[in-house]
Each structure stands twice: as C-alpha cells, then as structure tokens.
C-alpha cells in the first residue's frame, strides 16, 4: 500500500474509532441502534443455516438432540427451583408467594461471538431494566446481573465470568460455598472433604430464595489437602441462550 493511501486509511480509521468511542461514552443508545441490525442479521443467518438442515441429516439429529437436552435441563432446573421454593415456603409459612415481575428480553449477542462472558440484550432502561438486576435463563436459572444498561440495550455480566465469585449453597443440606466463575458457563468451588458432597448434587445461588444454577459434575480430592475442588456443570448454556428474564 503506498504511503498516501496508508495515511488516508489510518486517518479514516482513527476518525471512525473516535466517533464510535464518543457514541459509546455519550449516546450509547445510538450505538445500540446502529449495531442491532448487524446482530439481527447474524442471528437470522444462523437460523437460516440451521433451518436448511434436512430431517434425515446428521446435523438435524444433532440439533434436535441439543434442543431436547436443553429443554430437559431447563425442566430439571425449573423442577429443582420449585422443590427448593416449596421447601423454603414450608419452613417460612406466610412468606411472599406471588410471582416475581420481570422483563423478557431477546439475546442479541452472546459468547463465543462476544470475547467476554456477557450477553447483549434488546431491552434497556426504557423497559424497566436496572443495573444490578438479576437475569434468569430458561427454567428460571440465574445466569448473571445487568452490568450496564442504556435506553434500549443492556449488557449482562454472567456469574460464570472468569474469577467472579458468588455466594451459593450445595447439596440437600445447603452447605454454603463460594462459587467462582470458570468461564463459558462453568463454575468451580472448594469445600472441606468431610462435607460429604457427591456428584449430581444440586448447586443453588444464595439470594432471595435458593436458585438452582447447576449440578456437581466432578469432585477432585487431593489426598494431601483438607479440601475438595468441585466442578459445577451449569443448567443454562450461555452459548445457546436466546432469551432471558430480567427481575424487576
């Protein structure tokens, strides 16, 4: 590339980046308005590619299996949540029982397209989304909190973001643990060996009730250590989330 063209290109690039940065800083809703069609086209293309798979094809079978697995996980999560809620309500007679209000939002972008563990959703402060509100996926599984919100779009920071810690309980006896995000929807935690946790035990996020987030998938016990390391498999896969509910 000649020096003149390179200089012009560099100038145009710098100007574009400056404009984008200024938009993000001062009028983020405009940036959301510009970027939304691109994400929507990407979503449509993905759906089109999936839609062209014939019913006999391997791809179609894999898609159906994935869908059923996801549905099964969602139902399991919902069932676990209901069981936990019933147990809590039985203990706390007279507690609040009315359903919580929420905002249903479409997911515009998610990992692995996004380099961070974030979901970009198409609802913002105009719809009642507030920073810090909890986002829930299929089956009411908590997946993260609203980290940033503008008028028409919001960013949800997933609990599974690498290094993020959340208070949780594990097992039927609700042993308190600290869940640490391991990226891509997974979590890790450590607790004493004598806790008696086994593979398949439910993991609940502590909060206004017990919200199931996953199950213990693997327990690593080092003979020289007094504690065990747990790998938690989430109920909700952030890579395939298509909609979320934001608590109000």
């Amino acid at each position: 590339m000649s020096t003149g063209i390179a200089g012009i290109t560099a100038g145009v690039l710098t100007l574009t980046i400056l404009i984008i940065l200024l938009l993000r800083l001062f009028v983020p809703s405009v940036l959301g308005f510009i970027s939304k069609p691109f994400w929507s086209v990407g979503e449509a293309l993905t759906n089109m590619v999936h839609g062209t798979a014939t019913t006999d094809s391997k791809v179609s079978l894999v898609l159906t299996r994935d869908q059923l697995t996801q549905e099964n996980a969602a139902l399991r999560a919902e069932n676990t949540a209901l069981l936990a809620k019933t147990a809590d309500l039985t203990k706390l007679l007279g507690g609040r029982t009315e359903p919580e209000k929420g905002v249903v939002a479409n997911v515009l972008a998610r990992p692995p397209v996004a380099p961070y563990d974030v979901l970009i959703i198409d609802q913002g402060t105009n719809a009642g989304v507030q920073i810090g509100a909890q986002a829930r996926g299929t089956g009411g599984t908590p997946i993260g909190t609203v980290g940033q919100a503008d008028s028409n779009q919001s960013r949800i920071t997933l609990y599974s973001t690498h290094g993020i810690q959340s208070n949780a309980w594990v097992g039927d006896t609700r042993i308190p643990i600290t869940l640490t995000g391991a990226g891509a929807g997974a979590f890790t935690a450590s607790l004493p060996k004598e806790a008696g946790i086994k593979v398949g035990d439910g993991v609940y996020l502590a909060g206004n009730g017990a919200f199931p987030v996953g199950t213990v998938a693997h327990i690593e016990a080092d003979p020289s250590s007094a504690s065990t390391e747990l790998d938690v498999r989430p109920y909700t896969n952030p890579f395939s989330s298509t909609w979320v509910t934001i608590a109000r």
């Binding site: 690039l13 984008i20 940065l21 994400w39 397209v113 996004a114 961070y116 960013r155």
Partner: protein
C-alpha cells in the same frame, strides 16, 4: 505476488462483520489477516470489539488482542520486506 486491492478491502470488511457474526477466535484470525494488509486495522477492530462487548470490569481483551496482532503483523511485514530487498 501482489494482492488485489479489493481483496485487501474484503478482508478488513469481513473482519469487521465477524465481530457481530463469528466466534471471537475466528474474528481474531481475521483480525490478524487484516493486520497483515494494514497493521492498525487489527487495533481498530479490537477497540470496536471492546466498545461493543466490554462489560465494564477486567482487561480490555479486544484492544489488547488487536494491539498484539498489529505489532506481530508489522514485524512480519517488516521482515518480509527486508528479505525481499
């Protein structure tokens, strides 16, 4: 061998679109290809990735990736030119 200008533009445009459509790993590869055409392009794309997705805490992965790719691509271009000369 000279790469046609339309191909260079296509690589940069494709890398830009991949920020919205393709997994981040693929985008990073395309960013490197764009950087080979024009080194600052990967830095620009990295900044745009952070503008779109940065959650507000942690490292600026997009910008850092873009900067590293730009440096590597600039070095590659420099050494290729040196070898040819």
């Amino acid at each position: 061998m000279t790469i046609p200008r339309y191909a260079k533009v296509a690589v940069v445009v494709l890398s830009g679109l991949s920020l919205f459509w393709l997994p981040w790993g693929v985008t990073a590869v395309l960013m490197f290809c764009a950087a080979l055409v024009f080194p600052p392009a990967s830095l620009a794309l990295g900044i745009i990735a952070d503008v779109l997705y940065y959650p507000g805490t942690g490292y600026l992965i997009g910008t850092l990736t873009g900067a590293i790719l730009a440096i590597i691509a600039a070095l590659v271009r420099h050494f290729v030119k040196t070898r040819i000369m």
